[in-house]
């Protein structure tokens, strides 16, 4: 994810108001419109300086779109923008951690035994939980409760890692 201190604001790059709630269709339309203006192909015959400028603008635009399109990345960006950072080694609350460890073991066992139906039901349960967290985030951002939003995002990271493992198990 881009750090807000080193690049201009991702929302303003796309002409949007910073907000957790986002209209995906409007986001995509804004991205397409701006891509037309800055895409390097348009500058293939332009002087080198213009080509380089277009390249970095297009790159920043692509990165902004990628970040804002995804609810978790968008939420993390909003926090970072407000000066709340989430480190790489943030820990879960002990009881949540225990729960996740148990669920991972359950998943590993199901995977090892090739019980894909069980993997799917674990995945479905986690996806439901993910939806609930995303909904909760919506309320937390609306009320400006960034501390609790951060807690939810730490959970979301664990949860997404778990879902990645579900995906890998189902690829087998």
């Amino acid at each position: 994810m881009a750090s807000p201190s080193t690049s201009s604001d991702l929302f303003s790059l796309l002409g949007l108001q910073p907000s957790y709630e986002i209209d995906r269709a409007a986001l995509e339309a804004a991205y397409h419109e701006r891509s037309k203006e800055v895409h390097p192909d348009r500058f293939a015959q332009a002087p080198a300086a213009e080509r380089v400028a277009a390249l970095s603008k297009a790159r920043a635009l692509n990165d902004a779109y990628k970040t804002l399109r995804d609810a978790r990345q968008r939420a993390e960006y909003l926090l970072a923008r407000a000066g709340v950072t989430i480190g790489d080694n943030e820990r879960l609350e002990p009881e949540l951690l225990m729960e996740f460890l148990e669920q991972r073991e359950e998943l590993a066992a199901a995977r090892q035994a090739g019980r894909s139906a069980e993997v799917e039901s674990l995945q479905a349960a986690m996806l439901t939980r993910r939806k609930a967290i995303l909904a909760a985030l919506s309320g937390l951002f609306a009320s400006g409760n960034l501390a609790d939003a951060k807690k939810q995002l730490i959970v979301l990271r664990y949860l997404d890692r778990y879902l990645e493992e579900c995906e890998a198990a189902l690829e087998d």
């Binding site: 995509e28 339309a29 397409h32 891509s35 037309k36 895409h39 390097p40 192909d41 348009r42 500058f43 293939a44 015959q45 332009a46 390249l55 297009a58 790159r59 692509n62 990165d63 779109y65 990628k66 951690l97 460890l101 991972r104 073991e105 590993a108 995977r111 493992e165 890998a168 198990a169 690829e171 087998d172």
Partner: protein, 624 residues
């Protein structure tokens, strides 16, 4: 798109003349060239129609013949008549083990590239053979357009890797073409369709050619062509169906003379093509070709369906994965576009219709549509026309090798280009002064299973304790797909220079296997990756704890020491095993056991900081 390591500032596209730029579909079976006249693309025809068979014959007299003329010589001079070289381009011998036995000519070479011995003992490379095909297309275009060709966009399968793309670009250069861009075939097809029909919506492009399979999902809206996701198999195509038919009908064919193999595969292709319009056909290998292998047998469309099924299911798997990558369901697609000669077969069409739950579109000639799209992109690049914007993606993930051989992906597959990513890594060993950077491409979790792109060393890292040295690595991919990698040492704030040495092709890993394995070994990979990560983390924590126990004894209560040592024993046992979860649990256990001690050290470090001790010293004492 092309992935290669580029020196900064390297020029890519020369000023191209607006008038004479072309799009070229360099196919496994047939090739063709197109250009844009009055805003709409047209295929350039020559004698015998627009398609030039991608076949090259090397005569004993040194004369090189391309296309239909070459094809006509295939039966008499199978070893000197080269077809389907697209399957060999950018590949080493190891990559080609599977098809080698069934090729009608001799392959030599090493793990990086192959060569073929033709008439007069002359050795030619797939790059040279492809260049002959490109020269023929160039001649065609020049005589039709009345002047030299100034630039060309050449299409490649979306799923071609770096070595295959680089080799294709070299073939263009060898043919005397200024290669303005390598364009993904399904993207080119979508471009032609979108412009022709003024379409808006989300489309899947199912591209089954002679030797490659691609599946891409694109969104078309107001002149923007956004590739959502792409996937495929760069060694899967109609050729495989031909070989399947031939080996089913002629038992023991692999051991037959090359000439017989060539004739049997050619007859299989003819039979397959006949089954496009007929429900059955006679497969006939005459005794004049071979007494031993002579065959006469009726083949039905039902036979073809059965024999093609395993291949079609492979394409189906790739399609489902790409749908998932683009976060779409098949119901959300507005249509499926068929591309490639192999999609003419009703067997393939029925499979695709069932797979996507809708009748596929094939109203533009599936064999011409790619060249038409390439011509449009050539026109965009040469004229800067404003009505088309192409947003393409990285087909395979790009990353670096970490401690323990695990890959950290910096740019994931299906990221829109141009793209950039920056990540910070810490030193692993005390007083480490150099940082080895190994750039790889692929989906597998371990570096040895991915394609190696480049290696370089960042020197001048100041000696520090492990974990304190921080190196920032930046990947930049431009609109051409060229990758630039830079590394910077952060702790001292100074930037160190890096040397980039391209090393693609050096890995002896089978590309095909690599792609297929990424699906099949996902579980094994993940377990391996987790294990390596946890082990590295465990070793780091064990070392740090031992160090702290030895230096800060006065802060260590007896019961905490006992608990800590017991927990370290547990962790050591876990590290010796292969269960990553056991290691994770033991790490957390050790963490818990030493918490009071860590707290005391932290308090003291903070106190020291307030007393004016340097921050670095404080941090070091805490063992951060």
């Amino acid at each position: 798109m092309l992935l290669q390591i580029a020196e900064p500032g390297e020029s890519k596209v020369k000023e191209a003349c607006k008038a004479r730029v072309v799009g070229i579909d360099l196919g496994t079976t047939n090739s063709l060239v197109a250009h844009v006249a009055d805003a709409s693309p047209e295929v350039i025809s020559g004698e015998g129609g627009p398609l030039v068979p991608s076949v090259v014959n090397y005569g004993a007299d040194g004369v090189v013949v391309v296309g239909k003329l070459a094809q006509a010589r295939a039966l008499d001079a199978p070893r000197d008549t080269l077809a389907s070289v697209k399957r060999l381009i950018g590949r080493g011998l190891k990559d080609l083990q599977a098809v080698r036995g069934l090729l009608p000519y001799e392959l030599d070479g090493d793990d990086r590239a192959v060569s073929i011995t033709v008439a007069g003992g002359k050795k030619v490379s797939p790059v040279e053979v492809s260049a002959e095909v490109l020269k023929e297309l160039k001649r065609r275009a020049e005589s039709s357009l009345g002047g030299p060709i100034e630039g060309a966009v050449i299409t490649v399968p979306a799923y071609f890797d770096d070595a295959q793309r680089q080799a294709t670009r070299d073939a263009g250069r060898l043919a005397g073409l200024e290669v303005m861009r390598l364009l993904a075939e399904p993207t080119a097809a979508a471009l032609a369709y979108g412009l022709d029909r003024g379409s808006t919506g989300t489309y899947a492009v199912y591209d089954l050619g002679g030797g490659t399979f691609d599946i891409s999902i694109l969104k078309l809206v107001n002149g923007v062509f956004e590739v959502k996701a792409t996937g495929g198999d760069s060694a899967l195509g109609g050729d495989d169906i031909d070989r399947e038919i031939a080996t089913r009908l002629v038992p023991g064919l692999e051991k037959a003379p090359k000439k017989v193999i060539g004739a049997a595969v050619a007859e299989a292709r003819r039979a397959k093509e006949a089954l496009t319009t007929q429900s059955e056909t006679l497969f006939e290998l005459a005794p004049s070709v071979s007494e031993t292998f002579a065959r006469r047998k009726v083949v039905t469309r039902g036979d073809l369906q059965t024999w093609a099924q395993p291949l079609l299911e492979k394409t189906g798997k790739a399609c489902r994965r790409v749908l998932k990558d683009s976060e779409l369901t098949r119901e959300e697609l507005d249509g499926v576009i068929l591309v490639g000669g192999s999609t003419r077969s009703p067997v393939v069409r029925e499979y695709v219709a069932e797979l996507f739950g809708k009748t596929p579109l094939a109203d533009l000639d599936p064999e011409q549509v790619v060249a038409l799209g390439a011509a449009v992109q050539a026109d965009v690049l040469a004229s800067g026309r404003q009505d088309v914007t192409l947003l393409d993606v990285v087909p395979l993930s790009l990353g670096i090798e970490m401690m323990g051989g695990v890959v950290e992906k910096l740019i994931h597959r299906n990221t829109t280009i141009p793209a950039g990513a920056t990540q910070t890594f810490t030193t692993y060993a005390d007083n480490q002064t150099g940082f080895d950077i190994h750039v790889v491409q692929g989906e597998r979790e371990t570096a040895d299973a991915c394609r190696s792109l480049a290696r370089f060393v960042l020197r001048g890292v100041p000696p520090m304790i492990a974990g304190m040295g921080r190196v920032e690595i930046t990947f930049l991919v431009d609109a051409d797909g060229l990758l630039k990698v830079t590394a910077k040492e952060l702790t001292t704030g100074t930037e160190a220079s890096v040397q980039v040495k391209p090393s693609y092709g050096l890995t002896d890993e089978q590309v095909e296997q690599m792609l297929i394995d990424s699906f099949e070994y996902a579980e094994e990979d993940l377990a391996k990756r987790n294990l390596v990560i946890e082990r590295v983390e465990a070793e780091r924590i064990l070392a740090a704890t031992r160090q702290a126990f030895a230096t800060d004894t006065e802060l260590l209560d007896d019961d905490v020491r006992a608990a800590g040592e017991a927990a370290m024993k547990v962790l050591e046992t876990a590290v010796a095993g292969t269960d990553h979860l056991a290691i994770r649990h033991a790490i957390e256990g050790l963490d818990l056991a030493t918490k009071p001690f860590a707290q005391k050290r932290m308090n003291r470090a903070i106190a020291a900081q307030f007393q004016g001790v340097a921050l670095e010293d404080a941090a070091r004492k805490v063992g951060i």
